[in-house]
Amino acid sequence: MLSIDILLNAIVTGILLGSVYASLALGLGITFGILHIPNIAHPTLVVAGAFFVYTLTQWGLDPIVAAVIGLVPFYLLGVVLYAFYSAVFERKGGANVLQSLTLFFGLSLVIEILLSLGFGSELKSVSVSYIGSSLKIGILTVPYRLLIPALLAPVTIAAVWLYLSRTSSGTAIRAVAHEERALSIAGLNPASVKRHAFGIATATAVIAGAALIMVGPIEPFAGRFQIGRVFAIVVLAGMGSIPGSLVIAIIIGIAEALVSSYLNPSWSPGVAFAILLLGLALRPQGLFGAAR
């Protein structure tokens, strides 16, 4: 069934879904891509962000407003998490990747259980006037349920990238991953810079959480289904390339939508990894990463 409206709608849906994926991957892009901390708990933090947004929407707030309110508490949560990570690993002779993975795996389990205890295991969703209706432009039908969360990603990514590239503290974050010792010589405390960066990464989780719960209902274990895809986006974009992750996420989104429309939706979970393998074969440093 190859008709122009199905093709165009599939591409638009792919762009919107890809943009939501980029939101989910943004925090990991900072922690893993820049700080080289394998924070596999990030998707679970996103789910925690979604529950935070859900809670505030029960008081009548819009999910986006709720997410903005959540930025500070989630930033502080990230600061505390990094302080713990640093105390457990980094101050004791450097973080072993396997140990770090174990820590963040355990953290994600703890968060899941806390969410289960706090919110129960039922699906939670938000009811907003724009969810359930669509924007019609010619043959295109764009659900607001995807459009609004999709718009969050470029805005958030642009804000984070401007901060990282145009401010001195952002430059310090990018520098800390490359040469920690030089940063110390320059009079900056690397641990403090990393703590700040981890806080920013965790703060983005609440924005991604708002996007996630607008797209569909969530439950405490929903993060497990996102881990593979967000890692694929960060790695394929090139470690540390924040804008690149948006491009890669949209490529993956479009590929998944086209596979769903024209081949078989069951194949779509493999799309991200197929693109990852192909991309890394062509450019091992990632499509937008600098060769080191």
Binding site: M1, D5, E219, A222, F225, S260
Partner: protein, 422 residues
């Protein structure tokens, strides 16, 4: 070193301590050893929304023990959390049998989790009540396995036949089928395709999708392109929500008369509450709804006790779909034990094969592989839903029974778009 006098005192105190429960206890059971009933429940993980079934088990246990136990023995539940993972199930059931020495087993929830335990049950020749595992015994054909759920015989193929009976009555010639890539949904879709073929319907679209798909717009457009008159969907809660919302966003042909069938989710309070009026018009399977043809004093009493516990535990306050049948599982086990005056698996199984059992879900008789002899899966149409208040679903008229005819409380409102808007 203790003196002989001290030793005698110690013996006397110990003996008095051991005898005290028998002398002063309010409930006396003839034998000390309780009858142990073992089960795994998904208390955590993606299937944790089914954990409200445990309330059914516990209410049954309390009722049985209040009535003096079974064979004058107290009933004890031994329950472990399978974390919604099939990988945990074999070890849990090995422990229930070999360490906890359970006399009766209840299966995990559903076909996905039950499948790994069936070879073990068959090999060890154990007695088990199956919990919602569609076609759970069709392969093993174990003669000591009995379903508590109302799937009926040939359930892999026929459990949702009611949907196709309704479609046939509406003169449907073209049907679309979509399903999640999971055991239950795949079985439902496969069986549905076979029944559609039997009824001479053309399956114009038949596709599966991976679990946790959040956007169905492409699939809905492809379905519309196939121009079906009925759409049979076998989905899980998160996808059910996405599909219902996708239909609202993208739209669906006015030719579609029936929409739904095997969607998991609209049976639960969480989705009924969150989707509310968006569910109007949906025709979907269910196991119990509070319609006049199903309300009995026994089931009413069950829900009168279930609801406050569920509210306190923060689980589904309606609990129509699963919990009554967990209580039924206990009633089946109790009937088998008291009827056979034994906890011997062969004797218990022989009793259930030979006798129908009265339960809160009605009288149940089993065939040779433990299916209900009569399918009693409901096809209900959701109607007249206003707002998101859950309490409205306790009233009749919002989940109208269309099938089976013996329990019918209304006729199909069609086409779907009209029923959706009503």
């Amino acid at each position: 070193m203790k003196t002989r006098r001290q030793f005698h005192k110690l013996v006397a105190v110990t003996a008095a301590g051991l005898a005290a429960p028998a002398i002063f206890g309010s409930k006396v059971f003839a034998q000390d050893k309780p009858i142990r009933v073992g089960a795994s429940v998904s208390l955590t993980g993606p299937l944790a929304s089914t954990k409200n079934g445990q309330i059914g088990y516990e209410l049954w246990r309390d009722d049985v023990n209040a009535a003096g136990g079974l064979l004058d023995r107290k009933v004890e539940l031994v329950i472990y959390d399978d974390q919604s993972s099939a990988a945990n199930v074999p070890a849990i059931y090995s422990k229930l049998v070999d360490v906890d020495a359970c006399d009766v087993l209840f299966s995990p929830y559903g076909a996905n989790l039950s499948a790994p335990v069936m070879p073990f049950i068959k090999q060890r020749d154990l007695f088990m009540i199956g919990m919602f595992g569609l076609a759970g015994n069709d392969v093993a054909k174990h003669d000591k396995f009995f379903h508590s759920g109302p799937w009926g015989p040939n359930s892999g193929r026929d459990w949702a036949r009611g949907f196709f009976d309704l479609a046939k009555a509406q003169g449907v010639k073209k049907i679309a089928i979509i399903n999640a890539d999971l055991e239950f949904s795949k079985n439902a879709a496969k069986g549905g395709a076979e029944v559609a073929k039997e009824y001479g319907m053309e399956v114009v679209f038949n596709q599966s999708y991976p679990p946790n798909t959040s956007d169905f717009s492409s699939m809905i457009r492809n379905i519309n392109a196939g121009d079906p008159e009925a759409i049979f969907i076998a989905s899980y809660p998160a996808d059910s929500t996405a599909i219902i919302r996708g239909v609202k966003e993208i739209g669906i042909s006015d030719k579609v008369k029936l929409f739904g069938g095997a969607m998991i989710g609209p049976q639960y309070g969480a989705l009924l509450g969150s989707l509310g009026p968006e569910l109007n018009g949906l025709v979907n399977s269910h196991t119990f709804v509070p319609e006049p043809t199903m309300q009995t004093p026994a089931i009413k009493s069950f829900f009168d006790r279930y609801t406050p516990i569920a509210v306190k535990q923060g689980v589904d306050p309606l609990g129509f779909y699963i919990p009554p049948f967990y209580y039924v599982a206990g009633q089946l086990a109790a009937a088998a034990i008291t009827g056979s005056k034994s906890v011997d698996p062969a004797k218990m199984a022989a009793f259930l094969h030979a006798n129908a059992v009265d339960t809160i879900a009605g009288k149940i008789a089993f065939n040779e592989i433990g299916d209900w002899k009569e399918r009693r899966v409901l096809m209900v149409q959701l109607r007249g839903i206003k707002g998101n208040d859950l309490e409205q679903f306790r009233n009749p008229g919002h989940q109208v029974i269309l099938d089976p005819p013996s329990l019918k409380t209304g006729d199909l409102a069609a086409p779907y778009n009209k029923a959706r808007a009503s």
